[in-house]
């Protein structure tokens, strides 16, 4: 399959970050669906199964991203999920998916810091989609 056969759902409440991410993904060749809130993201994946999802952590609430990870995995256990946040860069609080304990409650496949290079994001996505 080509990259253009994959549709990536991107949820971020910062319209500029959303614009930039979508721009980069489309430039890399993927199709995208962009939403600005947890509520919109839920309504999108209730009707449609994306190939992969990228969620911002803090949207309507501080843990919107975690909730979305949980809900999408419940509906589509095989859809890879990337949790993108700027939390540790900004607040010094950190978490990762390294320990079993963290994996058990953060239901994302990758946890990425915001501001990573577009090529790096593409690499991670290709790995998750096994391209």
């Amino acid at each position: 399959m080509k990259k253009s056969d994959y549709t990536i759902l991107v949820a971020d409440d910062d319209p500029d970050y959303l614009f930039q991410t979508v721009f980069n993904l489309e430039k890399a060749g993927y199709k995208t669906v962009a939403v600005e809130s947890q509520a919109e993201a839920e309504s999108v994946f209730s009707k449609f199964k994306p190939s992969l999802a990228i969620f911002d952590l803090m949207m309507e609430s501080d843990d919107s991203g975690f909730i979305l990870c949980y809900k999408i995995k419940k509906k589509y256990p095989n859809v890879p999920v990337i949790l993108a946040t700027a939390v540790s860069r900004e607040t010094g609080m950190s978490f990762s998916l390294d320990s079993e304990k963290e994996k058990s409650w953060i239901r994302a496949d990758r946890y990425l810091e915001k501001g990573i290079r577009p090529e790096q994001l593409d690499q991670e996505i290709m790995k998750l989609l096994k391209l």
Partner: protein, 378 residues
């Protein structure tokens, strides 16, 4: 009803059972305490056993005889202090010499109970200790809460300040790498959005200055007679260009002249924020009505709009720093998330009140009552 655990360490069984009997039905209450204290008594005949029970049961209060068969009372006291246990200690001793008193006080004993003691002496000592314990714990809790709030404030502030920088960085990279094309016109949206984020950040910094000013400035010299109608008119002029864009009609009704003693800059903060909110969160072609009224002692300010409104749940957090109600209707409205928390702080500084009534899609009414004469602004 809270139960304080009292450990009595004394080698005389009569003293231990006496303490237990006297405190069995005793309770301590103060008007400022949330709940009464009652007492549960545990006993140890030696210092060594006392330490075992301290480790096992972690009492709140320790009644300690100094003269014990093995290790002495003051040594038990030292043991407790070295480990920084949160236990109030009173020494019970018939040999209350100056020497023991000095050593015990240095090691943090709160009180002395001379032996033999009457039930009343024991009770008044326990009452004193309970009160101190309550104050100590409440202070500790307040400090911890304060630290947590400050930390959260800084964490969110840094998020709010960095988000626009991240957006700008992203757009500049796209331009640097010519990702959207080779002509400057290919980047019109990028430049436009960058400028908007810069403006947003500037507003945040201005609000932040207001916010810190309220906390730091000494007010006494700045208090003067302020005509609130004039302040309101000034604020309307400032917001007018924006109101014209939104086609929002701003009306000011002065029912009675409200002159109050205040710092004019503080009053400007109140009017600027609430009038600009009444326009910002309004509907196209809506109305914003500002009413100024007064009683003998109070000025009453009403800011009413025909805007998008707030749900009851959302309005509970409305005055909290950096809380911006995020929904479909507000997503294109920019704000620092500090405005209303600043307004509330100013109003409280003047010992006034602010309340909000709102119906989603109908509008919001903010009502502020300010005393005309400041009661000790600090």
């Amino acid at each position: 009803m809270a139960v304080l655990k009292v450990l009595v360490v004394d080698d005389e069984p009569g003293i231990r059972s006496g303490v237990a009997r006297i405190l069995r039905d005793f309770h301590v209450t103060y008007p400022f305490m949330d709940e009464d204290y009652t007492f549960e008594i545990i006993e140890a005949p030696t210092g060594e056993e006392g330490i075992i029970m301290i480790e096992r049961d972690m009492p709140d209060v320790l009644l300690l005889d100094n003269k014990l068969p093995g290790i002495q009372g003051v040594e038990v006291l030292e043991y407790v202090r070295e480990r920084k246990y949160d236990i109030m200690v009173a020494m019970i001793t018939s040999y209350a010499s100056l020497d023991v008193a000095i050593r015990a006080t240095r090691d943090g004993a709160t009180d002395f109970i001379p032996k033999p003691f009457t039930p009343q002496e024991l009770k008044s000592s326990i009452e004193n200790i309970s009160k101190q314990l309550y104050l100590k714990r409440i202070t500790h809790k307040l400090n911890a809460d304060g630290k947590k709030i400050r930390y959260q404030f800084l964490a969110v502030l840094s998020h709010e300040l960095k988000a626009p920088l991240n957006a700008l960085e992203g757009y500049l990279r796209m331009m640097q790498e010519k990702q959207a094309g080779n002509r400057i016109d290919d980047y019109a949206t990028h430049i436009d959005r960058s400028l908007q984020r810069i403006q947003g950040m500037r507003n945040l910094i201005m609000d932040l200055l207001d916010f810190t000013k309220i906390r730091l400035e000494r007010k006494e010299d700045k208090i003067q007679k302020v005509n609130l109608a004039e302040v309101a008119s000034g604020a309307i002029v400032t917001v007018q260009p924006y109101a014209i864009q939104m086609e929002v009609n701003i009306n000011l009704e002065v029912k009675s002249d409200a002159i109050i003693m205040a710092d004019p800059a503080d009053m400007e903060i109140i009017f600027n924020n609430l009038i600009s909110n009444a326009v910002k969160y309004n509907k196209f072609g809506g109305k914003a009505d500002i009413t100024i009224d007064s009683t003998n002692t109070e000025a009453i300010l009403i800011f009413s709009d025909t805007g998008i409104g707030i749900t009851k749940t959302d309005s509970e957090n409305l005055f909290t720093e950096f809380v911006r109600i995020k929904n479909e209707k507000t997503k294109n409205i920019s704000g620092s998330g500090l405005g209303l928390s600043i307004v509330k702080k100013v109003v409280e500084l003047y010992h006034g009140t602010i309340k909000v009534d709102s119906t989603p899609d109908v509008g919001t009414i903010f009502t502020i009552r300010l005393p005309k004469k400041p009661i000790n602004i600090s």
